[in-house]
Symmetry: C2
Subunit: 354 residues, 2 copies
Amino acid sequence: MSRPTVNDIAREAGVSLATVDRVLNARPGVRAKTILAVNDAIARLGYVRDLAAANLARSRSYRMVVLLPDSDSQFVHTLAAALQEAAALAAASRTEMDLRRYPPEDMHVLAAHLAGLQPDAVAGVALMAPETPVVRDAVRALRLRGVPVVALGSDLPNAGRDHFVGIDSHAAGRTAGVLMGRFCRGLTGRVLVIADSMLLRDSIERRRGFDEVMLADFPALEVLPTVETHGAPDMLRAVVGERIAATPDLAGIYLLASGHRALAGLLRDRGLLGRFTVIGHELTPHSRAALLAGHLDAVIAQNPGHLARSALRVLRAKADRAPIDEGQEQLRIEVVIRENLPADPAETRRADAA
Amino acid sequence: MSRPTVNDIAREAGVSLATVDRVLNARPGVRAKTILAVNDAIARLGYVRDLAAANLARSRSYRMVVLLPDSDSQFVHTLAAALQEAAALAAASRTEMDLRRYPPEDMHVLAAHLAGLQPDAVAGVALMAPETPVVRDAVRALRLRGVPVVALGSDLPNAGRDHFVGIDSHAAGRTAGVLMGRFCRGLTGRVLVIADSMLLRDSIERRRGFDEVMLADFPALEVLPTVETHGAPDMLRAVVGERIAATPDLAGIYLLASGHRALAGLLRDRGLLGRFTVIGHELTPHSRAALLAGHLDAVIAQNPGHLARSALRVLRAKADRAPIDEGQEQLRIEVVIRENLPADPAETRRADAA
DNA sequence: GAATTTTTGAGGTACGTTCCTCATTTTCAA
DNA sequence: TTGAAAATGAGGAACGTACCTCAAAAATTC
């Protein structure tokens, strides 16, 4: 009738509750034959462990440490907010989050942070960091001490992280390339690429994907060398301004990372708004505003809420040694234009309050 | 130190456990003043109800009925599979799903189905159906009997559903319009629109959004009247074939609903593959194949897995009278092109098995 | 076949909440 | 001031699982 319980399994398998428990929780002291009998009964009855009861009985709680760079990037801010929100929800299932920031320029501080984590006090770690040797070693050491590690937003493939939550930067760059090429259909000209720094793996991969597509499919467009702004708006205005002036046949601008506001300001001042196809990454208040105003044609994004929830869910699964629902944790490479811009979460909250 | 429990609240508020329980579960028989005192204590302690324990104690299980049209549409198939998968996961939290099909041509059968549901045996209903008067009345009656109803994929705004899980068809149509217009940059010509039936609300709204954008922003493109195929591939080949022949300056084709395979076949036979910009809706095995082959330029989609999980989560929240996390339940209008095509879930499973 | 080890059984407590009963106290209106 | 009604307290059982102990049974070794 109703769902079978451990007691039903015991009866069905003709063993005691204690034995069923030993099998279910992989405790020692059970003959292989008995294990099989129990598993048989489980399969016959279609037993599914009641997670609610199990977690309650364990009375275990999970402290997840999340490490983000302490940069003033809007994406990081948005992600931090999404993480807080996800953590508030996760609190109902005994998961708490400890969100920490580290100075983005010094990976030794991050490594020291990781080295200082006590395995018995931390159920898992999610971090967003570039894969430098220092970080790689720190992550490896942490995993050796038994702490699951999830790479957040930016992958750490060679650090042996347990999971990566985020999108494939190379495919994201390709997507940007296709949109740029198609939005510029019929045009012959050049495309300017702007990055914070080409030392970051994400930017490199985006650029690589972008170039691949442009070269193969849109030969009428020539992609210029990357202009680096180091996150400084002034630098962007100066360098990009000079480049625009020097490129009469400019068809498009590809913004690899941040700088939406500075670029919009520059174009506005020069009366160039809407003259080029502009494509960028990540949905932030600035890029959202630019999309709405029509200064920006498309954004390639990942959903920060999804990113945050996935990170916590995956860490929880890893901590429980439970399987992961790949379908649910697969982040999508979103293409956002003005028409499919999702409602602003801040707006929604304001409307709710009213 | 550790998380506060109901007992801590009782102590903090200076009342008994029974009173705390009455307040927490909105049971009658507590003075307003006392309620305030308890809520104060809750806020002071930062109490968060332990869902695991609460659900266990309730030992309530939730039977959700999901009703889908028994059409051979690939989207419905995909959604059904996603629902089964979501239900398997939800089983761990005492939620089971009863997926039923109804003949798509007869809303009276659906209405009878709804009328036959026992409120005490069903915790909630999700249904995908056009908003005919019969359906509207059946939904209203069901809600009056206390069963939460969620509209799935296609909204039922005038039936008073508790929630809509899906995307805004009008905005989806606008998105399709912008892509069509931009992908056809520089061209002057006509756009063919193909629908199963223009009696379906979704198709009407998509078309309306599409037209708005085309008219306002892309005057060089003229949108032709909708061709209806009634879901029949033969009909599509015949009618669309004739229309294509009659339209020498055809620039694009907008597929409002199904028919990806038939259209690809038709274009292939005539040697017209890749000649027009083709934009469609929903990611299915057929549209996926067409994207990969390059016969289809973009698809406007909603994530069926997300749709399924949202539906079950929202029903559960409604059944518990719990608040809904809007951010999480907000479906995105996805733009899918070849470069950001998510991994095929079937492929992933096969790879896992290997 | 005795001694030892391994496996199994029986029974209990705990987790944090829900929901019940019954007794007692407080409040309010007549 | 009294009587009825409303509010509160005290206590306990239950949900399904985890985890503990101790005793009994079975299997293994010499």
